[in-house]
Subunit: 376 residues, 2 copies
């Protein structure tokens, strides 16, 4: 049965204080829900998104081809996160560009488009905003919070900021913080955007332009880091675009991998907001719960009481299994309940979005146990 998705929006008048000291007020959060909240409101699952995703987690929009949600393989009727049993909530984060209030919207205090003046948001701020949405939906406690990559950071942060409101947390292809190399890739992407003459210091909207050059480069860099060397070799290898002959050109496309990357860059530059890219990569850079505990992750995670599922993928070099194991180790040091699966998948970081049967069955089994709790 096809799951039909319906985008909704919730407005929040009260200012949300941010970690930076700034605050936002009069903001909207775009969200979607799937399934039915049960009578005692114990079956809610919040799904947190990563860089290039939104509240449209699962299902399709009626009459729109290819409108499947970004985690539609994972979430839906009869799927690992079964919407026949769970009430699933997807929410677009503050500062994003897919419906929630972000840099493209007007600051109610000034009447002007935020642009680069949209306040810097952190993973912790997003979790606070999500908690307010749950308040409004009347959900005191989540059966589970889940997310991959940056979404996994939000799931982890939920267990630290609101331990009483989360019974389970699935942290997938994630990390307790970014490495220097991760930050470095983010920084190059940001520099490409910021130094694009069409960026205009982040106020390009009023100039009627978009820093597409910078966005293309940012996306190309990102894409390389999402894939594994292996899968790139398998999919593209050294295949030439024009068949067998080298054309001896430095500016035109010669290899298929170039064609693929340019296409991805072009597509992204047409819909993604440059200021959002800066905000979201910065939220990634800043996330580091151990930093408030002298770098001791075990101390940082002592606050968590949820039961955890950690999943990593062998060829993911952006958020390698080693990083997930750091979280597992810190949880075990706190004698927390934690399941961990390291999935042997060739697809690099992207694997968390794909339909790997072992991965799906691990998540399915974990959610089956959760369902058994509230159905008991």
């Amino acid at each position: 049965m096809t799951l039909i998705a319906e985008p909704k929006s919730m407005q929040f008048e009260q200012p949300l204080p941010l970690r930076s000291g700034a605050s936002v007020r009069g903001y909207d959060l775009a969200y979607e829900t799937y399934g039915t909240l049960n009578a005692d409101k114990s079956n809610a699952v919040l799904v947190c998104h990563a860089l290039n995703a939104s509240h449209h987690v699962a299902g399709v929009y009626p009459g729109q081809d290819n409108s499947e949600g970004w985690w539609d393989t994972m979430i839906g009727p009869g799927k690992p996160v079964d919407t026949d049993r769970f009430f699933v909530i997807g929410v677009n984060n503050l500062g994003s560009c897919f419906g929630s209030t972000g840099p493209m919207h007007r600051n109610p205090d000034t009447g002007k488009v935020y642009g680069a003046d949209f306040p810097v948001v952190t993973v912790e701020d997003w979790v606070d905003a999500q908690a307010r949405l749950l308040d409004r939906l009347g959900i005191a406690q989540l059966a589970a919070v889940m997310g991959g990559s940056l979404g996994g950071m939000q799931a982890l942060s939920w267990t630290l900021q609101y331990p009483d409101r989360v019974r389970h947390a699935a942290v997938i292809a994630s990390a307790p913080n970014l490495t220097a190399e991760n930050i470095a890739f983010n920084e190059v992407a940001r520099r490409a955007i910021v130094t694009d003459p069409d960026f205009h210091g982040g106020h390009f909207y009023e100039h009627g332009v978009v820093p597409q050059r910078g966005l293309r480069i940012a996306r190309m860099i990102g894409h390389i880091t999402y894939l594994s060397d292996d899968v790139m070799n398998e999919k593209f290898g050294r295949q030439l675009r024009s068949g067998l002959d080298i054309r001896y050109t430095t500016q035109d496309i010669e290899f298929q991998i170039e064609s693929y990357l340019r296409y991805q860059g072009d597509k992204f530059s047409e819909y993604f907001d440059a200021n959002t890219y800066l905000l979201i990569t910065r939220a990634l850079d800043y996330f580091d719960p151990a930093s408030r505990h002298d770098g001791n992750l075990s101390k940082a995670l002592a606050a968590a009481t949820a039961r955890f599922l950690l999943v990593s993928f062998t060829t993911d070099w952006r958020f390698s299994p080693k990083r997930s194991r750091e979280i597992v180790k810190a949880l075990l040091e706190n004698r927390r309940n934690c399941s961990y699966a390291e999935i042997d998948a060739p697809h690099g970081h992207d694997a968390f979005l794909l339909d790997d049967p072992r991965y799906m069955s691990v998540v399915r089994a974990w959610f089956d146990r959760i369902a058994a709790e509230f159905q008991a």
Copy 2:
């Protein structure tokens, strides 16, 4: 004793036919030599350079601080490649921007600066040009050819193009071709340069500008791939530039790694030529001796008769040990003489330029054996 370097230049009137079908004429090659060519001219060692290097391989320029050659740890009196015994030649490749004829020079046929019209050069073309230089220096056969990274590709190509002219070849931190991921990184860097409005289709010289934005991004990407994740974490980790406090900014520097990368990008953009960057990365992309043998590297290397030294570094993810082992395997399949050292070094691809004692002693022992041959 300090080795004093003296840059020289040799002009070549006769056109050099290139793999692309084009040719260059009236070109100069900048070069340096160290040590003394022996009576029977049997002690010559040619050193091939990688992307961001030149003919200035060893020694210093009198009166110039910090003017050591890029492989000064490796080459000089009493060093692993001992200039008291060997006559070492460094040559700047055609199309580069450090003295040899390149895009910044005038095309003698048109009287105009080449710019983006400088013909595409390949590793094979460079080797041909180097062979002509040796002809002029009266050197019929090299005791050894050596190089790291792209330089290693040239050393390997020497053994295939001119097997009778090379007794030994040291191929360090190199690969039989680039992977899709390698090409992808090169392509992003090239796109950053080409889409910089100051690039002007490669004819920026006549506009009095330089595509510095693009060059900065290109260099930042390159730099990330030269280092290992480990060494980045050790050197920079998540250290903030301003001490302990996050400043909540998306455009200003927050982490030390950002400061380092921006500095490297700025420096590079002040001296490196944008068209040269395109040409050299393309030469890297194109190199693939097996492509003329249905992808069979073993068949491709059957032409080589030299004795080989292969060296790789454990944390080098740009040209990983696996790639060097492919070359070793293909050589052994041809029953060629081949020594291979996999050096456990933390520095990533950059390790080949550094003074690691195990690495140095491997190269020293190998060159000692070569010296023993012609001194016998």
